[in-house]
Amino acid sequence: MIEVTGVKKTYRSGETLVHALRGVSIKIENGEFMSIAGPSGSGKTTLLNLIGCLDTADHGSILIDGTDISTKDKQELALLRRRSIGFIFQSFNLIPVLTAFENAAFPLSLLGLEEKEIQRRTMEILKEVGLGDMAHRKPAELSGGQQQRVAIARALVKDPQIVLADEPTANLDSRTGQEILELMEGLNRNHGTTFVFSTHDKMVMDFARRLVLLHDGLIQKDESQEPSLGASTTLATGVSTERQGG
């Protein structure tokens, strides 16, 4: 579980101060499928970065499974990210010299797992995202949607506690974007992995079971909703009981 309490973040750009977050509190339960929405500049990326331990808050606290991340040093945070947090980026950020398989296997290589184990788990997740037969392709030989699938596989392969996705569909056409969201939703149900993704696209927001609306660095709305597509079989409480392991 992740608890964000009274978080503020101010950027200084030259003389002016930009209050990106002005006191944000949310609780994210394990297994949620949640969207952080809001107009450009509302603080979505800032919030995701704070939850993802990529940046530190000026005020307030963020607890991950009861531990305040501000008590951890740079190295401990890196280790936490390596083990427990998966990232999906808007621009995919795959390593161009590596194949789809190698990209997806990257987090496991970092964890120093056995080669056999890496092989097994990577192939499994690649099949799950529908790229079982494209494992040997380089990112340049894949479409945008396929690249984002590799990125999703990379985020999920280590079975993280939470996957953070900053505008995962913004670089894709709406059809492909929808496929990606359906894939994420399916993985959320099958693996019980928490997903938090940001967007300013109405269609994408509707996919979430919980919608947090940011405006000018403050939470305007935070409510559970009936997901629009594909997710109809899941309860709208946003809490899944299927989560397996840590």
Partner: protein, 424 residues
């Protein structure tokens, strides 16, 4: 451990994917190193050749003179001569070094119109040599370009070929030398040019005047005395050691004789040359440093580019929990790989080009005749195999490449992860 291996694989993949960059950086390292190797080879080669030519044609390895003669070497005073050279040579036998007696004295060369183009004279140093013993120490006899070498007790003279050209002399031309005998009387020596020498030592070619020892002995009233006894041993011999050998051999002589003798090695004798060489080696270091700088700039340019264009990638690595150390290691291994490729190519290139430089050398005789560069070589500069330089160039190429990649990588790692991820 496994993740290290993974980082190595990643580094190598990056290396071979960015072929253009790897190629350009590799080339700049290779060219820099090859130049480094060649210049070093040539400079050391020239120095080595110069030293050999100094010793074999000009100074000998070590010379024994009266202390007073050495003190007044500019005037070459005959009154400070070694009276009994045979005794000294005899005493030197245990050292195993070859010895040649010589008389060096100053004289005035007189040239008269017909056969010379015009009347003229010049102050010079004349060296009287024993035609048979001298060849044990010097290589003059092998350098006769025209005419023949000196014979005992003849009124002949051998001079440097360039000197002959300068004064307009030829084989058969008469030459008059005006000098003073040992006891100070004026003496006129009329000789005929029997041979010209063209040695690899430009000083000899430009200034050498040689007459037979016996002729000089008689005309200068030396009574068997000589100004010096020149010794020959390999020029690579440790001079402290050889001097000690000589001194211990000389100590067998009667104390009075021995006390007055100076043992002067080629480094002392060729002081002008040695000082010049030292000055040049300073210049050499500057040249080598410049070459080094060129290579460094070439490497750093491409290294900087390669890191900056991948700042987002570094941001992604960090977001995924890679430690700074691991990222740095990956980039440094990549840089080391480029360094290895460049250094290998550079050493190969350097060695390949150095082969003809060592075998044939560079012919610049057209320059040597008119410009005195102070080196004791004529015309051909030869390279030398300098394995130390080749190895250190190789290592330097790799280390340099790694060190230079370190800077931009550190800069990228100092950025906030979030800034690195947004970097365009």
């Amino acid at each position: 451990m496994k993740s290290r291996l993974f980082l190595l694989r990643l580094a190598m993949k990056n290396l071979f994917r960015h072929t253009r960059r790897t190629f350009i950086t590799g080339i700049s390292i290779a060219v820099g190193l090859a130049m480094f190797i060649l210049i070093d080879s040539l400079l050391v080669g020239i120095e080595e050749d110069s030293t050999r030519n100094l010793v074999l044609y000009e100074t000998s390895s070590t010379s024994i003179m009266k202390e007073d003669y050495w003190a007044e070497k500019e005037n070459m005073p005959l009154k400070h001569s070694i009276e009994k050279p045979e005794a000294v040579i005899e005493a030197l036998q245990p050292t195993g070094y070859s010895a040649a007696p010589r008389i060096s004295f100053s004289g005035e060369l007189i040239m008269r119109q017909d056969p010379y183009p015009e009347d003229g004279s010049m102050q010079t140093r004349v060296i009287a040599i024993d035609p048979s013993l001298d060849t044990e120490v010097y290589l003059l006899d092998e350098s006769i370009s025209r005419g023949r070498f000196l014979e005992q007790d003849e009124m002949g003279v051998v001079i440097g070929e360039w000197l002959a050209e300068d004064i307009g002399a030829d084989i058969g031309s008469p030459l008059t030398i005006i000098t003073r005998t040992k006891s100070g009387y004026f003496q006129t020596i009329d000789v005929e040019i029997v041979g010209l020498v063209n040695t690899p030592n430009p000083i000899v070619n430009r200034t050498g005047v040689y007459i037979p020892l016996e002729t000089a002995d008689y005309l200068l009233e030396m009574n068997g005395a000589v100004t010096q006894i020149d010794l020959s041993f390999p020029y690579t011999t440790d001079l402290k050691e050889s001097t000690a050998n000589i001194q211990s051999a000389l100590s067998k002589l009667p104390p009075s004789t021995m006390d007055e003798l100076a043992v002067v090695d080629w480094k002392e004798l060729g002081k002008d040359f040695v000082a010049l060489a030292a000055a040049k080696s300073g210049g050499t270091k500057v040249i080598l440093f410049l070459v080094f700088l060129i290579a460094a700039v070439g490497i750093s340019n491409t290294m900087l580019m390669s890191v900056y264009e991948r700042i987002r990638e570094i941001g992604m690595f960090r977001a995924m929990g890679m430690s700074d150390g691991e990222i740095r290691l990956a980039f440094l291994m990549e840089a080391g790989g480029i360094g290895l490729i460049g250094a290998t190519a550079g050493v190969l290139l350097g060695v390949l080009v150095n082969i003809p430089m060592v075998e044939n050398g560079i012919d610049y005789s057209f320059l040597m005749r008119d410009f005195d560069m102070g080196y004791r070589i004529t015309g051909i500069a030869r390279g030398l195999w300098n394995y130390g330089t080749i190895v250190s160039a190789f290592v330097t190429g790799i280390v340099l490449s790694i060190v230079i990649a370190f800077i931009p990588t550190s800069k990228a790692l100092k950025m906030q992860v979030t800034d690195a991820l947004r970097f365009q």
